[in-house]
Amino acid sequence: MYQYDQYDQAMVDARVEEFRDQARRRLEGKLTEDQFKPLRLMNGLYLQLHAYMLRVAIPYGTLNARQMEALADIADKYDRGYGHFTTRQNIQYNWIKLDDAADALADLAKVEMHAIQTSGNCIRNISSDHFAGAAHDEVADPRPYAELLRQWSSFHPEFTYLPRKFKIAVIAAEKDRAAMRLHDIGIRILKNDAGEIGAQFYAGGGMGRTPMIAPLIRDFVPLDQLITYAEACLRVYNRYGRRDNKYKARIKILVHELGAAEYTRQVEEEFAHMLSAGVEPPREELARIAAYFNDPAFVDGPKTIDRSDPDFALWVDRNTHRHKHDAYVSAVISLKPVGGIPGDATSDQMRLVAKLARDYSFDELRVMHTQNLLLPHVRIADLPALWAALDAAGLGSPNMDTIEDIIACPGLDYCSLANARSIPLAQRITERFAANGRTGELGELKLKISGCINACGHHHAGHIGILGVDKKGTENYQLSLGGSEAEDVSLAKITGPGFDEDGVIAAVETVTDVYLGARQDGERFLDTYRRIGMEPFKEALYG
C-alpha cells in the first residue's frame, strides 16, 4: 500500500501546525466561531449533540496494522475506548475535546494519517472498492488513481470553498461495490477496445434530500488526462453550482438543472482549455504511486478447506469473497453482531484486527462502506485459524449482505441533525431476525437506515430503506423499497405512510413475508420487488 515520502509527511505535518495555529487564534478571539467553523470542519472536527466528533480519513479505505493500532490508541487516549466506522470508509470518534484535537491530529500524522477534508465544502476523502487490488474482476487496482486524486485534491487552492461538499469514488470493475454512481463524481477505470486503460466519468450523483443517479458524462478519459478532466469538472461546479440555497448546492442539482449534456459541454470546453494550460502531474507520478500497490508475494496453497464445522462453513460462505489468486480469499470482519451498534469497534477489537492483518493478510486492512472491516488477502489454508480468532472476539458474525448487515447512521443518539434514532432500530431488527431464524433464508437483503433526510445511512439505496422523520415531535419512520447502490443502481420508493418504532420493525417483517411468498428460483429480495412491483407490498402493509 501507499507510503508517505518526505513530501507527503511534510504536508500533513504542516497541516497539523496550521490547525494548532487556527485553534490558538480562535481561543485568542482573533477568529469568530463563524470564521473558525469551516476551518475545523476541514480538519474533520464537527460539533455534535454532546461533544466534538473527529472524523479521520482512511483514504480509499486502506490501512495497515500500525495505523489501526494508532486508531485504537486514539480511542483510548482521547475518546471512550471505541470508534465508529462510517459509510465513507472513515472512522469517527464521538467524544473528543477541542483542546485535544491538535494532539490527536499530531498522533495521526506519526502514522501517515490525517483528518484533512473529511468535512467542509471541499473535495472529501476519496473512496473506492473495498476489494480493490484483491478482487478477481478488476481491470486494474483503482487505488493508485485514488491516491493520485487524493494528492491533487489535498489543499487544492481553487476548490477549498466549493458550494458544498464533494465526494469522489473510483472503481475498476463492472461490479460496483462503492456506490460509485451515487457520488458527486464517480470514476470507473476500464479498458477501451484498443486495450488501453482509461477512466469513465459519471457526475452529479448523490443521496441526501434529492437523490440522483449520476449520468455518464465521458466514456473514456486517457490516464494522462485524468486530473485535468477532474479539474475541469470541479471548476464548472465551483463557478456555477448554486450558492443561494444550501439544499440545492450539490453538483447533482447543477447537472440536473443544466441537463447532463450542457454540463458536459461546459466541462469539455474547460477541459480543452486546461489541457493547453497544462495542469496534469507528470506521467511518471502515476507509475511511482502504482508501484506501492504491487501485489504482495502470494504463494500457492490449498484451494479448499475442511468444512465439517457448520458454523465455520457458514462464515466462509457468507463472509469471504473471491480473490484474484485462487489460493486466497478476502475475508469480511463483521462489525454487525446481533444487537450491536453497526460499525462500532472497541480499541481491543481494533488491536486484534491489526494483529490478524499482520498474521494473515500481508499487514493490510480495509474499511468497507458497509461499516465492516476486511482482510483483503487471506490464504484459504489460514481461514480456520482466522475464524476462530474472530469468533472468540465477537467479530465472527456470518452476516455479510444479509438483513443483519444493516447500515445505520449515528442518528439521534449522537447527531444534532437527526429526527429519529437509527442505532436502536438496527439493534432491534437484527435481534428480531436472529430470533425468527429468517436471516439465511432471506439471502442478500440490504437494509439501510438514516436518522434524517441527509441520508448518511444510504436509505435511498437500500433494498429496504428506513428514514427517520419528525412527526409532530415524535420519532416516525418512513419505509422504502427497491433501492440499490450497486451496478444495477436504483433509488428506493416510499411504501406509504410512516410507522412508529415498533410498527416499522413489524413492517420490515411483513415485507420479507411478501418476498418469501412471491419469490421465484434464486431471486433476491430486490429481484422479486422489481418483478412484482410495489403493490403486493403495499397491500400487505396497509391493505
Partner: protein
Amino acid sequence: MVDARDLGTSPDEVQFRFRDDEPADHGTITVDACCDQTNATAVRIEPGDDARVLLPFLDRLALIEVNFPGFGDGRGYSSARILREAGYTGELRAVGDVLIDQLSHMRRCGFDSFAPDKRLDEDDAARAFATWEKVYQRAADVRRIIADIRHEA
C-alpha cells in the same frame, strides 16, 4: 450611478502586495461597464461575474479586483486562475472578507495584492503566506509541484 471612486479600494487599503510596480490609483468599474468603456484600466469582479468576458480587454487593464463579500464563497478563486491562465500580468487584488486562512490559497490562485475589509495581524499573515513549503497541484503560481520534484532527473 455610483461614482467610480466608490467602487474600488485605494492603495492605502492594500495591506499586502507582492509587486514592484506602482499600485494603480484609480477607481474600478463593474465588469459590465468595463465591456462598454474602452479606456478603463481597472475593474472589479463580483462573485457572480464571468471573468472570461474580460479576456479581450486584459491588455489595457492594470488592476483587477476580485470581491469576496463572504469568505465562504469560493468563486473568486476560479476567476483569479482564469485571468492568470489567460496571461493577465497586471495587479490582481483580493478585496472584501479576506481572512488569514484564505491567504495562501488566494496567493496560489494568482492574487498578488490583498485589501481585506479588516486589517489582519501581520505575524499571523506572514505565517499564513508561508504555510505550504511545497504544493501538490498546479495553480497560477507556477511553482514546481511535489510530483515534479519527485521526478527530477
